[in-house]
Symmetry: C2
Subunit: 113 residues, 2 copies
DNA sequence: CCTACTACCTTTTTATGCAAGGTAGTAATA
DNA sequence: TATTACTACCTTGCATAAAAAGGTAGTAGG
């Protein structure tokens, strides 16, 4: 397999990941209060790689849109952490995302037929 | 529901669509030779809206990457059309996309648990 | 020959993910 | 108490790519 091909393939995969990134982060936060580095680990486990430079601006955006809230908490080892949680608006938004996701899944299924 | 919220929701939906756009187009072309405007209609039916300014550059990119090929064909009514088809490389690429898509689906499923 | 329609394509704007670099708190150790 | 290591936060600048808007050209009908 050529290099160019691999590059394109990786790029396509990255595009798909980007598309659901916000959704994925909201899903993770919905489960429990969590801070940025934990979110990164959690997504990595699910094979959705995200880096700091991506997640911090995104979390800020979601906070500004009032979909998220956070509270500072001390850490036993290291600097304090921002624990994020969903606001009521955020939960509503997440529901919308879930519906969009189902639509997307059915769209792809249809296109395959 | 506020306006801001709707806007964010639409934006999130758009993001998701973007992520699978290339994949969706390849799926459509895989079924039969087809030209740009038909692709647009086909995707619209599947609730994946795309516009010309999006699809033409994308088709060119895929052609340049040798994933697509095309041939001109006369139309009974109007200017000639570029009918696109997948190259061998394109079919291989599509397989890769399908795998990525499955990965994404399982990632989301896992994050929900 | 003018209008309508279809089909192609390009230019410009905007959004956003990511690499890289930066600050600061804790803690172990030399 | 200086040094190093680690964790956690955040910002700047670049590259990519979708979408809006505008442009060219072929056919057809009145």
């Amino acid at each position: 397999m050529e290099d160019e091909f691999k590059k394109s393939m990786e790029n396509a995969a990255a595009q798909m990941r980007k598309g659901v990134l916000e959704f994925a982060i909201l899903l993770v936060i919905a489960k429990r209060e969590i801070y940025a580095n934990e979110i990164i680990s959690r997504l990595k486990n699910a094979k959705l790689t995200v880096v700091e430079g991506t997640i911090y601006p995104l979390l800020s955006r979601l906070k500004n849109s009032e979909l998220l809230d956070y509270k500072w908490e001390e850490s036993k080892s290291g600097p304090p952490r921002k624990y994020y949680s969903l606001t009521a608006k955020g939960r509503q938004f997440l529901k919308g995302c879930e519906e969009q996701w189902r639509n997307l899944e059915s769209a792809i299924t249809n296109l395959k037929k």
